[in-house]
């Protein structure tokens, strides 16, 4: 990971200089503004802007390597690939043993996400967001959850009584919540703590 601190007339100029020095592109960089700078009056009280630019070009490759190492040591026949998408590293696993890699309700995939993200956080000294998919699991999961949400929506619309959904992890609850949030007949809220946190679909 390369980084540099740079001063300039304003934040844009300082950032541009820093990227030139590092030899990287802005979409791969994280810009920390240390001083926004002041233009001052006739040059009096003017302050130069200062930024620290951190190049994260290697992030996706490092994430891929860590995931591949773990899969190899698990003795799974699988290959990791991935890219940096904004702030987030999106990794995809392909190969055999997909069912075991995904785990029940995606639990093993989620564990891989937590470990790869924590290991990269340790290497880079800051929080790194990592998403891992395998065999189109996330899309399939989203579709299944939306079908479930549709059933609950129909039921609540018909009975006028609220319905408590089964316990789900935060990512799954979010999918259901987003699907239902613009439906006119119902509203959603969560109750319970930790593993027992559930989404409730209530008539509006």
């Amino acid at each position: 990971m390369k980084s540099v601190k740079m001063k300039g007339k304003n934040v844009e100029e300082a950032t541009r200089h820093a990227l030139e020095v590092l030899g990287g592109k802005e979409e791969n960089a994280k810009v920390i503004v240390l001083n926004e700078g002041k233009s001052g009056m006739l040059g009096i009280g003017a302050e130069e802007a200062e930024v620290e630019v951190v190049l994260r070009e290697g992030l996706a490759d490092d994430a891929k390597r860590v995931l591949q190492d773990i899969l190899d040591k698990m003795e799974f026949m699988a290959v990791a690939d991935g890219n940096l998408e904004g702030e987030r590293v999106e990794l995809v696993i392909k190969g055999e043993d997909m069912g075991q890699i995904i785990g029940k309700d995606g639990a093993t995939l989620k564990s891989l996400e937590i470990l790869v993200s924590s290991i990269l956080g340790q290497i880079y000294g800051e929080r790194v967001r990592v998403g891992i998919d395998a065999d189109g699991y996330k899309d399939k999961r989203k579709q299944a959850l939306e079908r479930l949400a549709k059933d609950v929506l129909d039921e609540v619309s018909k009975t006028g009584e609220e319905k408590v959904m089964p316990p789900m992890n935060a990512a799954d609850r979010r999918i259901v919540h987003l699907f239902l949030q613009d439906k006119p007949n119902v509203t959603t809220y969560s109750k319970g703590e930790g593993r027992d946190r559930r989404l409730v679909v209530a008539p509006r």
Binding site: K73, Q100, I114
Partner: protein, 87 residues
């Protein structure tokens, strides 16, 4: 599988040279005991045990493929196994 545990734990801590993984193979279950520098134990366990639970899930998935059963314990300062969060 010991290599898998060592790889993950060493990558998570500030003092990888102080990580020790002991493997005890019983008749039906293999136990992995993880020792790390006291200041690193928190990094191995994580907030609400989420990292410890993830290590367990990964090692169990790898073991299941070989039809084996494993337990993963993280030893804390006082050398007692950390009580296991509900699974």
């Amino acid at each position: 599988m010991k290599e898998l545990v060592e790889y993950i734990v060493k990558a998570l801590v500030d003092n990888p040279d102080q990580v020790v993984v002991n493997e005890t193979s019983g008749e039906s279950v293999t136990i992995f005991e993880i020792k790390a520098a006291p200041e690193d134990v928190g990094k191995v366990i994580g907030r609400e045990g989420r990292i410890a639970n993830s290590i367990r899930a990964i090692v169990k998935a790898a073991a299941a493929k070989q039809n084996k059963k494993v337990t993963v314990e993280i030893l804390t300062d006082d050398s007692r196994p950390k009580s296991k969060p509900a699974e």
